[in-house]
Symmetry: C2
Subunit: 387 residues, 2 copies
DNA sequence: CTTATTATGTTACGCACCTTAACAAACAAA
DNA sequence: TTTGTTTGTTAAGGTGCGTAACATAATAAG
């Protein structure tokens, strides 16, 4: 193991700096011709020639064709090769375990979804068991053409901290009750909301943005913050734990621990809805999906509930703006990505805060697994050619 | 002007990368011997020799003596030279305008304080006028040994944005009603609370920390956020504008615009204090300083007010933790740096949030000017030798 | 006081990595 | 087929750093 790591490091050291930056460009931006690489990186043709020769010899890049410009000789096009390897990304969610296998430059190699027998409120034994099975099944069908497995990323419905000492309190260790990570493969853990935020940055509404916040509103509520292009995790992995904002709060009102989490969750929303439901408005909706469907049809009582909830969401966004002023906030999750709430959220934020764009996510259920895939790929790339 | 900038850029390009990193190290860490520089930067003695020769020829560094180790030849000690130039930093505050002139490595060359005739609540004509006079007076007494003026930094009691389009709304433009910035000198503006936060990082309680929040509590309330070593400014320069946190907020309670700012300011605090002051407790304190002095002596009624205020501060800290979980929060400002509040703030934060260290600032009135000085020095250094 | 030891600084030389210049190859248009 | 254009390779040179060896300047030991 140690030996392999050493030889890996030697390979990295053997690459010239220009070769490493060529690799990074192909990693970030996908296939490119030599002239494209040269102009974006500011390298001369001879340098590119030797860089690509280096990478090609190691199998890190491969030629995938030639492109004819309007005039002159064809340009050769390259992409990452099998030597670069692949990553496995897993979203250990509350209802499904989603797995993606992909090359470092994000070409999908394999996809599978495992449905949990019941809705898991916390990271526990069943999720651990399912992850163990999915990892085993995935490793079993690994094809030679995929190259080495460079990283395994798992998105968790819990706080995640790197520091060993503080881990016990997060519950992230429950992952390992029935799952033993494969040997010799870097294991990366991240909170699922943070992953969804990163997915918005790489695939979604926040594409390429350096600063934004992502708020996920479903059964529970959470936020992922990206500032200066970097995910903000917080000392205890608690950045974005907006369920802990002070609530209720006012003159003579003492905030309660996790008071907002209890108030703004889907359960509490439906409870309030049932309590306020008029006698003559038919049966009260059984779940949030029904409530929003009714509101979408213009049902007055439903709309009133949705509007009040949206105003609460708006207050949450305002708290976020008051602290970091991200400029852009993306709403996601089963309830949050619903477009009906947008105008009311915007109204509240406009009234309370500085100018902020508010968008609804369009990524759907794959957001989290795409985010953890990106984390795994980034780690693998850094491992191969440094930062 | 263009020509000068060009020649400056040429000088920078002429330095080798090792010379630039030597300059940066002397800039950041102050005087150092060659062996020290070599080991911290991982450079060989010949490389250091030529680097220092380059910098010395340009006047960017100077030899300030020799240091004798326990054995062997003396080591030469260097620091930034006159060629590196100097910066002027100004804190345009509500009661005083404080000016510091310093070398890039923060050696004080000149210091002056101008007292405003009355307490200025907003950035207006009198402050602009005072800044104009202070800048003129400072430039007049510039000594040849200081070298060129590399940057002029001004800390403002308003939001600050770089973007030209959004400037009008901030009021930062009022600075220029009576003040015309000197030609050919980079002008750097920053919010005063953000400056104080940076001062905590370079001189105060948060020394060297990558992540922390600084909350200033005085007449008004504001926060400065540093994450990943970088100051978070926000899209509209509104990061840390915690007066805009949703307040009051609870079931059936509609947050008001800037509701928290009105509630938690010194004026409102004293109003509540007077209203709640018992008949038999003597005269109610006239201002916050008196209130905290009484509380310090153990006066029960005063302590009760201080405690309630501290709990409100604790809720604010919790809002900050809920969004970014900085791990460390520094309290400053005339009210905030008071140690009496600390235990109550900590109690509230412990109850509502994840583990967070809470400290009181010890920098006093010079915090802001030290912070803007650092910003100016950083900018000057980047100008000379790049990032 | 001389000699040995050690740390600092300089000179000589070589290597890694990149560039420009010149040339060869491959294509479209004339 | 010729011409002009773009792509890729080969050759030669320069920059920036390193190592090795030497010169210098201090302390410690005799």
């Amino acid at each position: 193991m140690k030996q392999k790591q050493l030889s890996e490091a030697d390979i990295r050291a053997a690459f010239t700096s220009s070769a490493r930056s060529v690799f990074r460009t192909l990693f970030q931006s996908g296939p490119a011709t030599r002239p494209q690489l040269g102009s974006t990186l500011g390298l001369s043709r001879p340098t590119l020639s030797s860089s690509i020769a280096e990478l090609f010899a190691a199998g890190y890049v491969e030629k995938i064709g030639e492109v004819q410009g309007p005039l002159g000789r064809k340009a050769a096009m390259y992409r990452l090769g099998p030597g670069a390897g692949h990553v496995v990304a897993i979203d250990a969610g509350s209802t499904h375990v989603r797995t993606r296998v992909a090359t470092l430059d994000r070409r999908l190699l394999h996809h599978r979804v495992y449905r949990l027998s019941s809705n898991q409120r916390h990271l526990g034994a069943e999720i651990s068991q399912a992850v163990a099975e999915e990892v085993e099944a995935t490793l079993a069908l690994t094809e030679p053409g995929w190259g080495k497995l460079r990283a395994l990323g798992i998105a968790l419905p819990s706080r995640v901290v790197a520091d060993n000492a503080a881990r016990a309190a997060t519950g992230q260790e429950n992952l390992f009750s029935h799952f033993t990570p494969p040997d010799g493969v870097p294991l990366l853990l991240e909170n699922n909301v943070n992953c969804a935020a990163l997915a918005e940055q790489s695939h979604g509404v926040a594409q390429g943005l350096e600063d934004f916040a992502y708020i996920q509103i479903g059964l529970k509520i959470g936020m992922g913050v990206v500032l200066g292009g970097r995910l903000i995790r917080g000392r205890s992995g608690a950045a974005g734990e907006i369920g802990h904002l002070p609530f209720p709060w006012g003159p003579g009102l003492r905030p309660q621990n996790a008071g907002l989490e209890d108030y703004v969750g889907a359960e509490a929303l439906m409870q309030r809805t049932r309590a306020a439901w008029p006698q003559d408005a038919g049966a009260a909706p059984a779940d949030a999906a029904t409530l929003f469907a009714l509101a979408g049809e213009g049902h007055a009582a439903a709309l009133a509930q949705v509007k009040r909830h949206a105003e609460d969401i708006g207050a949450i966004v305002s708290a976020c703006v008051g602290v970091i002023d991200p400029g852009i906030v993306v709403l996601g999750g089963g309830i949050g990505d619903n477009a009906i709430m947008l105008p009311y959220v915007r109204e509240t934020v406009d009234r309370l805060s500085y100018p902020t764009e508010i968008h609804a996510s369009s990524l759907g259920v794959d957001a989290t697994v795409l985010g953890i895939e990106k984390i795994a790929a980034d780690h693998a790339c850094e491992l191969l050619v440094g930062k």
